[in-house]
Amino acid sequence: MELLQFSRGPALTFAIAVFLLGTLWRLIGILMLERRRVDAEARPGTPTPLAAAASGVLAKMWPHKTFLKSSLFSVLNGYVFHIGLAISVLLFAPHVLFVKSLLGISWPALPSNVVLAVAVITAGSLLASLVHRLTNPVQRLISRIDDYVSWAVTFLPVLTGIAAVAHIGGRYETLLAVHILTVCAFLIWFPFGKLMHAFLFVLSRGTTAIRFKQRGAEV
């Protein structure tokens, strides 16, 4: 009980503070860098930068057909755990209540046993992504500590969440506290590693799309 109070009180406060501090630091630190003007005459019919960026963000949701074969596993597995994470995080009743307590906004939740099933699939998908990273020569070569830390702080909340709900490996309040602490670890690591792609993917896809759309090229 003490641990639970610690995890959802001081630990959570600290984690959210680090998350906000680091995320804003990194985002603003990047966005306020010098901007190089692109003065090339855009092709006629170039969409506005915002429209170009938006279409780029959308277009990159699915690979070009020719790349699908070599990227099929990564793409499908990526979708499975991203959607799985979204469902587990956003549509589990206790999580909705947590967000409500924090931000005052709420939305309907899915049945708990449905979320549990989704979480189990998500955990499996995350494990598969780790196995792929360790066995695929390209991914293994380019992986860094960040990749493994980011994986761990994503996987652990899923695992401890499942354990807490299913009463595996400990008492509920202890597992709940550990679950919250792993979420704290996720929040603390988030700004400093690749988890930031949750924000950066929009900027990265967007900037490239603006460049390519003004050339009339595909993104």
Binding site: T13, G29, A93, L102, P111, S112
Partner: protein
């Protein structure tokens, strides 16, 4: 009239049939989740058990625990067990006896040295030398120490004795402490609850009497038989939780339909107690059945969990100003970092240009 030598003898004198006694033993074995064979062992053990000397101390408490155990609509076997143990001292029940009661306690301690059981309800104030609660001029702390010294075991009844309870709630003006905070050299069994379930109490005593040993305890010294599972896991409303059907308030459609009370603050998932199975008032009902969420009263600090109506999933005191300050600091640091980076880049540019000039490159 001679004092009956054993419990069995005492019961039969009271006109309790053997059949009723066996029935009780079977019931006890069942609520404590003991194997069926244990029923026979309990019956034999209890029948042969000598009357156990019990000293009941009441400290900072509301008498709710004693009420819970003694006030019943009709006398039951449990009550009789209580009657038939040698309750040599009960502060609350004997308060009218005044000085005589204290002598009875001292006499019992002397007579049953090393064998008597001390039952405590209420917490013990430690602040200012314990002056906030005294009996016959003796502080609770002193009385506890004196009484426990020659005891065989201590049973802390109710959340105040077990964990400090409401007197221990913030800001804890009397410095209230639990029995386990004070008694370190004797076995202590906690039977928390505000109040505890009578069967948990009598069952535990009966177990000790039957088997001559303490029952299996959890990490908070609670008998696992009664505190081994959460209310949530045994709650009849659990299917609604699993289906995602919740009462959003106490008077909405969901509440009327008996949906899960998780969203209105039920602490069932972290409350280890037997309310959902044994229920109260001879199996009539329990709080959730009456439409109110569990308070988690059998858990430490249940009073200080951030509100009975706040969902369990809610954060516990995330500091908005601190987080706001962190956000502002992050934004400022980001701005500063970008400014430093730009200056850094300018300096580098100047340096490279100086190098270019020094090697006389043509700038076109």
């Amino acid at each position: 009239m001679n004092e009956p030598a054993t419990l069995g003898e005492a019961l039969s004198r009271r006109g309790i049939s053997r059949r009723a006694f066996l029935k009780y033993s079977a019931y006890l074995a069942s609520v404590m989740a003991l194997p069926a064979s244990a029923s026979q062992a309990i019956a034999q053990g209890l029948a042969k058990a000598r009357r156990q000397s019990v000293i009941w101390l009441s400290f900072q408490e509301c008498t709710g625990c004693t009420e819970s155990i003694t006030r019943s609509s009709s006398p039951t076997l449990e009550d009789l067990i209580f009657d038939l143990i040698s309750l040599d001292y009960h502060h609350t029940l004997m308060s009218v006896s005044g000085d005589a009661a204290e002598h009875a306690r001292e006499a019992a301690m002397k007579e049953n040295k090393g064998k008597y059981i001390v039952v405590v309800d209420g917490s013990v104030p430690l602040k200012d030398d314990g002056i906030y609660s005294t009996i016959a001029g003796i502080t609770n702390l002193q009385m506890l120490k004196d009484t426990v010294k020659d005891a065989a075991a201590v049973v802390a009844v109710g959340s105040c004795a077990a964990f400090g309870g409401i007197p221990h709630a913030r800001p804890n003006p009397t410095g209230a402490a639990s029995i386990t905070d004070i008694v370190k050299d004797k076995p202590v069994i906690n039977i928390p609850g505000c109040p505890p379930i009578p069967e948990a109490m009598t069952g535990t005593l009966a177990y000790i009497l039957s088997f001559g040993k303490l029952p299996e305890l959890d990490h908070l010294a609670r008998p696992k038989a009664f505190f081994g599972e959460t209310i949530h896991d045994r709650c009849y409303r659990r299917p609604f939780y699993d289906k995602g059907l919740f009462a959003e308030s106490f008077d909405d459609e969901g509440a009327r339909k008996g949906y899960c009370l998780y969203k209105v603050g039920c602490k069932g998932p972290i409350a280890y107690n037997a309310c959902a199975t044994l229920k109260w008032n001879h199996g009539t009902s329990f709080p959730i059945q009456s439409g109110h969420g569990c308070l988690g009263c059998s858990e430490p600090h249940f009073w200080d969990q951030g509100g009975f109506y706040k969902p369990l999933a809610a954060h516990a005191g995330v500091s908005a100003p601190l987080i706001g300050a962190a956000a502002v600091a992050g934004a400022a640091a980001g701005g500063a970092a970008a400014w430093i980076a730009r200056r850094h880049q300018q300096r580098y540019l100047a340096e490279t240009e100086a190098i270019d000039r020094s090697v006389g490159k043509d700038k076109g």
